[in-house]
């Protein structure tokens, strides 16, 4: 992805770091949580939202330019 101009790079860098942490731990929990856990559907929503946020990053970077 291209680096935006102005102060946005630092903000987007920090946002990407937070997103990496959320996505990584959601991935790990999806892997480790038992299939029949009552929390699995909730976790799947977090996991899906993380991937959706990741897919929005190019649009977010365009807004920062």
């Amino acid at each position: 992805m291209s680096e935006p101009a102005g102060r946005e790079p630092e903000v987007i860098h920090r946002f990407k770091n937070h997103l990496a942490v959320m996505i990584s731990f959601a991935d790990l929990l999806m892997l480790e949580m038992p299939e029949d856990s009552p929390h699995r559907a909730d976790l799947a929503e977090i996991h899906k939202a993380g991937r959706a946020a990741m897919a929005l990053l190019p649009e977010l970077e365009k807004l920062g330019r």
Binding site: N17, I23, S24, F25, L31, L57
Partner: protein
């Protein structure tokens, strides 16, 4: 049955503790031994001890003071076989500064995923998306 390999050691260098924690969990789940430090100077200091084996350096490019690239350059001068996975929020920045990646180097864009990090590390170390079975070091 694939041949077993010795458990590789990955050194994770990132100034953000939650990123180091996430990378450590992912890599340990994949069977790797993981060391982590918070900056390039600590990594250089750690690897002055020749008894500490490291197979792959996971280097954040956007660190204050000693950058990931400078740290990797210093470490590879001493340990020529060290593989390096550069991690960056901006692949374009890396490509501008390093249009050519040397053998044994690769990059991964943040935010990384479990699959992305696992596959990048395995590709660098073994040339395959999944690592072979490992014998755990004690």
């Amino acid at each position: 049955m694939p041949k077993q390999v010795a458990q590789p050691v990955v050194l994770v260098v990132d100034d953000e503790e939650p990123i180091r924690h996430a990378a450590r969990r992912i890599l340990e789940t994949g069977g790797y031994k993981v060391l982590d430090v918070e900056n390039g100077a600590r990594a250089v200091e750690l690897l002055t001890d020749e008894s500490i084996a490291v197979d792959l350096l996971m280097a954040d490019l956007e660190m204050p003071e000693l950058t990931g690239e400078e740290m990797a350059r210093q470490l590879r001068a001493k340990r020529r076989d060290l593989k390096v996975l550069y991690v960056s929020a901006y692949v374009d920045r890396l490509l501008n500064e390093r249009p050519i990646l040397w053998e044994g180097e690769a990059f991964l864009e943040k935010p990384f995923t479990f699959e992305g990090l696992s596959e990048a590390v395995s590709l660098l170390l073994f040339g395959t998306l999944k690592p072979p079975p490992m014998t755990r070091a004690s």
